[in-house]
Structure formats: C-alpha cells, structure tokens
C-alpha cells in the first residue's frame, strides 16, 4: 500500500532530524572565546569537577558552567539525547557500541562513532529504556 503524503513527510523529517538537530548551537566557553557547537556533533555530556563537559565526535572536549539537569532541559526537544546515567547524557545517533567490561560490573559502557576515545556509561536503571530506543527489545 503506498505511503500517505503525511507519513512521507514525517519520515523525511525524522531522517533530516538525524542529520541536523532542531536546536540552536550550544555556546561553550574557553579562556579566550565563546564557541558554538552543534548538538548533532555532541557525543555525550557529563560532569567533571563541577563543570559540565561536552565531548564531541571529533574528540574535542568543551566545558560550560551549568548543571546536567539544566542542560537536559534545554536539549529535551531533540530526540537524540538520552539520560543514560545520573552523570551522563548521550547522543543516541552517535552510539557505536554497548558493552560490559566484565560480568561483575553492573553498568554498561558506550563507545561512539568518530574520533572520540572517551566512553559514556549506561546505568542498570536506564538500560532497558536505552535498549528500547536502540531497538534491542
């Protein structure tokens, strides 16, 4: 049965969404300048030494003075972002693998596409939701 026009538009929109986030660029601070990073280029966001840290897919690390909860609120209109752990918010579209280092550990690790070597964590409590979003169920 041929797709309806609305369905096609919806599909197109979701595909475009994978390419570009519906959100504005996010400003981050360095000593000398304000940088603007595109949300689709973010691999994950975490907290380090009370600072919000963004890791991008090129392997760069950016900091911003903010809370993770506050940032997640700003990102909630973008379906790519998922609260995977109390200290991690990940870009689902950038996820490359999910693995557990050994059976004894409860949390799972996530690696990303691109140049980034750093990894994020999925807590046990959020694992089912993550699997569902990654169509593992």
């Amino acid at each position: 049965m041929p797709r309806k026009k609305d369905e096609n538009l919806e599909l197109l929109l979701s595909l475009l969404m994978r390419i570009v986030s519906p959100l504005k660029s996010i400003p981050v601070q360095t000593a000398e300048a304000m940088y603007f990073i595109r949300p689709e280029n973010i691999a994950f966001i975490t907290i380090e030494d009370t600072r919000l840290v963004f890791y991008d897919l090129d392997g760069n690390k950016w900091t911003r003075f903010d809370t993770l909860t506050g940032m997640e609120e700003k990102l909630k209109k973008d379906p790519r972002f998922f609260h995977s752990h109390k200290s991690y918010c990940i870009n689902l579209y950038a996820v490359k693998s999910l693995y557990r280092e050994d059976d004894k550990r409860k949390s799972w690790k996530i690696s990303f596409h691109g140049e980034l070597q750093e990894e994020a964590i999925v807590s046990t409590g959020n694992l089912q939701a993550f699997k569902k979003l990654m169509e593992l169920d």
Binding site: L16, L23, Q29, A31, M34, Y35, F36, F65
Partner: protein, 442 residues
Amino acid sequence: MQVGSLTHKLKTGKLVSLITENGFLFSNTSELIAFKSDHGNAICSIGDKQYTSEKSYTDMVKLVSTLPGWFHTASGLRVNLNHIASIIAKNDKEYTLVSHNGLKFDLNKTFYEKVQKYYDVKTLQHVTPFSLPQYWMMDMNIRHIDKDIMYMEVPELFEEFSTEAGDTIVVSDLIVNFLYQQVEYIRDGEDSPIEGGNVRSLWYMIKPTLSRLDLLDGTNHYKTVSSRLAEMVEHRILSYGEFELYEYGLWNVGLYNPHIIFLAEKRSHYQFLQQLQDHAGVTIISSEGQPSMMTCEYFCEAFKKKVPEYWKHDRIVIINIMDYDPHGYLILDTFIDNLRVFGIKHPTEIKLSLPENYTDLEIEFQHINLEKEDDDDVGNTILNKWMKKTEGINGNKWGMEVDVMMLDRPRVKELFLAAAKSWFKIMPPVQRRVWEEVYKII
C-alpha cells in the same frame, strides 16, 4: 528545523559562480564563508581561498538576503554564521567572528543585536551562566596556547606576550599563561612535572625562559610566580593540589570533633594544640603568621573529607589564640577569607585572647602600647579601625601578645574547653594520641 545548519551540512544552497584565472568555479552559498565588497565586486572566502564572484556585491547581498545564517556584520561584509566556530569579544563594541578554518571577520556593535538573536544568547561576551573562574581567566588574559611556552623561541615569546608596541614582554602575562599551560597538561593526563616539589620548583621551570629574554635582573620574578599562582588558586582557576606540591603546614584534622577548629597564630603553640587534640579530638592548625593559600587549600580539602556535611552549613567553629592586636585580627580575617575561597563558609568564631581573659596584673605590666609600636604594616587607619571594633583595653590603644596568656597553659586549656563545650559531639577526654599515631605512620 535549523534550515541553515541543514543546508550547511548537505552543502546545498544557491548557485554562485566564481571567477578563476582561466575560467569559472561553480559553488553554492552554503560553501561560502563570507564575502566582502571591493569596488563593487564581491570577494568570496571559500576554504582558505578567495575568489571574485561573477555577481556584483549588491547582487550577492540580494542572493543571500533570504538565506538563514547570512548576516551583515560590518560595513561591506556579509558572513555565513553556519561557518562560524567562535566569537571573541575584543571589548563591548567590537567582536571577532572566527570560522572553523580560522578565518577572522569583524562584527561591529551596529550589527550585534541580530547576530545575538540568531544565536539566542543573552550576550556575545561570554556564556551564561558565567562561572567566576571563567571571568577571572578572561580578566587575567589566560588563554590556551598550543606551543609549550618553555620551548618558544624569543620572537615567538614576543609575539605572544609583548605589549601592543611589541617591544616589551609582559612578564605577568607570560607567567599566568605558563602556569595555566602546565595545569592544562596535567588535566590532559600528564604527570605533574614537579610532584612533591614546591612553588619554587615552578619558578625553576620558567626561569630559563625569562633568562633567554634577559629579564632576570631587577625584579624578583619568583615573587611574581608565587603571587600570581596564589591569585589563580584564589579565583579557583587551578589548585596547588593539581601540581601535587608538597605542603608542610602545621595542621591536623581531628577524629572525634573535627568541626571544632583550634587555631593558633604562632608555630611555637602547635605542640599545645596537639595536646588539646589528644584530649578533645578537635582539628588543629597553626597559621604561622599570615596563613598561606596553599596550606589553606590542603587543609580545607582534608577537612571537607573528614567533615563531609558540616562544612556546608553553619556548624563549624574556630576557637583561636591570636595576639590581641590589629595583626592578630588581620591574620584571623585572612584565614576565614581563605576558608571561604575553598568552600567553608560562615564559621562561628570565638577568640580566647581577649582582655577579660587576662589578669589585671598581666594587663598592667604586659600590655603593648600599639601607638608606640614601630610597625610599618599597621598604620594609624588600621589601628583606629581595630580600636573602633574592640575598644582596645579600657579605651587605650593597647594590645596583648597571646604568649602572655600561654605562660599559663592550664588556663588556656580551661578557656578552650569552656568555649568548645556546647560544640562537642563527643565529650572529652577522648582516648587517643592522634598526632603521635600520624607521626608513627610517617
């Protein structure tokens, strides 16, 4: 949907024909970083190259006028903000837009508002919320510098750290950026190059660079290193701990009543503090005159670990034995200020060295006439302020050295225990000689 970002990502846009040496290059508006007016022509930046457009500047303006991300940023200049990676605030009127490939373009105040709205930010000067360390970094002109400063050639050092005229090195600028660069290396996972060393070890690292610049005569730049480092720590830009410096301060966090801090101004009283710690399990520290920022940082970090929740609230007490004079008060104020820097705020403060805790005989024979004391550090203004706060002794500008009280140590112990009584969580005597155990471990 961010259409500008989408066209940028897909490299689609309106056709632009550019003139080359032997023909035309066909590009599109999403690939263009910017174009500027030159005698009516449009000079376009693509990658690191520049081409003249086949269209005039006016026609190019019309072409991009409806495209998202294209903005008028300065006279005769249009910039595609989808290519802009960062904005540097030169002052509150002038800004520089920097593209992903490092090209720089002016943004004048006249065009500021539209760009600000495009990015949907409160200001283009800094990110909000703004952290105080970030503010101080900008204020001190601390920046990321790619090349290791210790291995820069002299012309490179002049290019990076000289005055606008380019003939004099701003030593302070060089030093703060050297310190920040070292801590950046450590944060990136390198070992501290001076682990177990002291501030002088940092000085020895940068000294050869200053020697190459012929800057070792005259000013004592070790002091510049030490004072600028303390300033950076105070503004929480970095910490002594990150350098893993050796800290020899006289302090020890108590096991049983760690929230009670017994502070002495003088080193010679530390043994007495240790005896009180044995008895009551309180935290002890000797400021040894003006307390050093490094001692305060290490002390506070250890203190916060032992007193995990108290330090966040108003449940810390500092019982102190300082000289009853302007110096003693200044030292105490500095110590409390330093604690605040490292997160310990609003402690209650109880002074033991007060006139009412001395005997009449001691006051009559052992007082110091502060007006006659030859002290360059304490001028009349400070003395008068202190008098206003304390009324001296019976209205006279007299002070008392705490050593007078310390001649009768059982009395000081009694005063201490009376002051601390309502604060004890575990009543003394506690049955351990904590400081001796620590020494045994060392």
